[in-house]
């Protein structure tokens, strides 16, 4: 297991920061995701979308990191939405009811549009 297994790309669209993840979000790589999200909020860019289209796998440490990021972002009035979940991740979000904790959108564009309003 290596944190190199996850690539994080950052871009901006309509005042919303989009984090595009590629690979596996697991024990070693998850803290990088959490830290990137929290750093963005601290830098005054609290509206964020996490593009999950290229995420192959998320383990319990990965989901825990999303929760940790959410808790930290709330202190900075941050908002986070997930977009373009793959079928496996989408099934997991639904069955453990993560979709009641996080806002989920079918596409990055839809998520950006929702956060830009």
């Amino acid at each position: 297991m290596s944190d190199r297994a996850l690539l994080i790309e950052k871009s901006e669209s309509g005042g919303v920061v989009v984090f595009s993840l590629k690979g596996r979000v697991e024990a070693l790589s998850a803290p990088r995701v959490r830290d990137a999200l929290v750093a963005s909020a601290r830098d005054g860019k609290p509206r964020m979308v996490v593009d999950m289209a290229a995420v192959e796998f998320v383990d319990s440490a990965g989901f825990g990191a999303f929760i940790a990021a959410l808790t930290a972002l709330q202190q900075h009035q941050g908002v986070i939405a997930f977009a373009a979940l793959g079928s496996n991740v989408d099934r997991t979000f639904r069955l453990i009811r993560l979709d009641r904790i996080f806002t989920v959108h079918p596409s990055v564009e839809a998520a950006v549009a929702a956060l830009s309003r």
Partner: protein
């Protein structure tokens, strides 16, 4: 069956039960589950799994179990996972989870769990106790071996002196016959004592060296070659059964055990008889058999034949079979003595072909015979 009856049964189960519906709602929990997880029943009615259990860096294995069931659509996934309850109580849970489908569609996720913390603690306690006993036994055995080797070393020199000087005195021309006869007794006793000291030193000095895979035929033929020298001039024939197996042993110790076993057969077999050396497969190893055509072991002797210094020979130290058993034990094998169907003595030396212990079947075969 009425729903109320089913509900009553589920509530009475000692096993915790949790059911997640296809929309993620937790639709069923029983009393045992609430107690095991330390969550009040009401909390399940309002929440999904993530809201209840997903926290950063907490209960990672517990949560991973449900993620793996969902991700792999697994049925009967069984895991033992640690769990930290909301009140800080640490537990070990045995969990079986299933992604249940009907007609290709998800019907629900069923999670059954038991708190095995106490069971695990008892197992661990038992393991620790066994390990401690084993350590103490090893220490005691090592101390005894050291003592035996020290005694053997200290006794050897005086014994050699007694034997040597008694011989020199016997050879003096002025010594009369009566004194010479007494000196002869002293000399023979010293020689016997010397043999015993050598045997004790050899027994105490046994230490398992590097093990390797060795062909049975190879060690059989080497042992027979040694024995043919020992038995030179005696009308005895060694018969090696055709066997194509391997044992995982210290070759030097295995050879020593075979030699000791064959020497025993040689001593008790009849003149002109055949000593058979063969092997039968055992689970995880081989039972090497040494069979002679003598009168066999006496039933009353069987419990003692492996004891150090036990011998029925007029001239003998009685360490041969003790050596065989010791070497077998060093390999986590077993040495067993019984009488063969044809009446002769049968020694079975069970040795592993990999890393295994005593073959129960071999032990039972000899017990039945005894």
């Amino acid at each position: 069956m009425k729903d109320s009856v089913t509900q009553n049964i589920l509530e009475s189960l000692p096993t915790g039960l949790l059911v997640i519906a296809p929309d993620g709602a937790i639709t069923q929990v029983n009393h045992a589950l609430c107690s095991i997880l330390g969550h009040p029943r009401e909390s399940f009615a309002r929440s999904g799994w993530a809201e209840l259990f997903l926290e950063p860096e907490r209960n990672l294995d517990f949560n991973q179990m449900i993620l793996d069931v969902i991700g792999g659509k697994q049925v009967g996934l069984r895991r033992v996972v640690p769990y930290l309850a909301p009140d800080g109580r640490k537990a070990l849970l045995s969990v079986v989870s299933s992604y249940v489908q009907e007609g290709g569609e998800l019907a629900g996720i069923v999670v059954l769990m038991e708190d095995v913390t106490e069971l695990d603690r008892l197992h661990q306690q038992e393991k620790d106790l066994l390990a401690e006993n084993s350590r103490l036994q090893s220490e005691r055995a090592a101390a005894l071996r050291k003592l035996a080797m020290s005694v053997a070393h200290q006794v050897r020199n005086p014994v050699l002196a007694i034997g040597g000087f008694s011989l020199r005195l016997m050879q003096r021309p002025e010594v009369d016959t009566a004194v010479r006869d007494r000196l002869q007794v002293i000399h023979e006793s010293a020689q016997r004592l010397e043999s015993m000291v050598r045997a004790v030193g050899e027994y105490a000095g046994i230490a398992l060296g590097p093990r390797e895979r060795v062909g049975l035929r190879e060690i059989f033929l080497a042992a027979v070659r040694r024995m043919e020298v020992v038995a030179a001039g005696r009308p005895v024939r060694f018969q090696v059964d055709p066997v194509e197996g391997e044992v995982y042993v210290d070759p030097s110790l295995a050879g020593m055990a075979l030699t000791a076993g064959l020497e025993n057969a040689l001593d008790f077999g009849p003149e002109g008889g055949v000593v058979r050396l063969g092997a039968v497969a055992e689970p995880g190893g081989w039972a090497i058999e040494i069979e002679d055509q003598g009168t066999g072991f006496k039933q009353e002797d069987l419990p003692f034949v492996f004891d150090p210094f036990f011998t029925t020979k007029a001239q003998g130290v009685g360490m041969g079979l003790a050596l065989v058993r010791r070497i077998a034990a060093e390999h986590r094998g077993e040495a067993l003595a019984c009488n063969a169907e044809r009446g002769g003595a049968l020694l079975r030396l069970v040795l592993p072909s990999a890393a295994c212990g005593l073959s129960q079947r071999s032990a039972e075969m000899c017990r039945e015979d005894a």
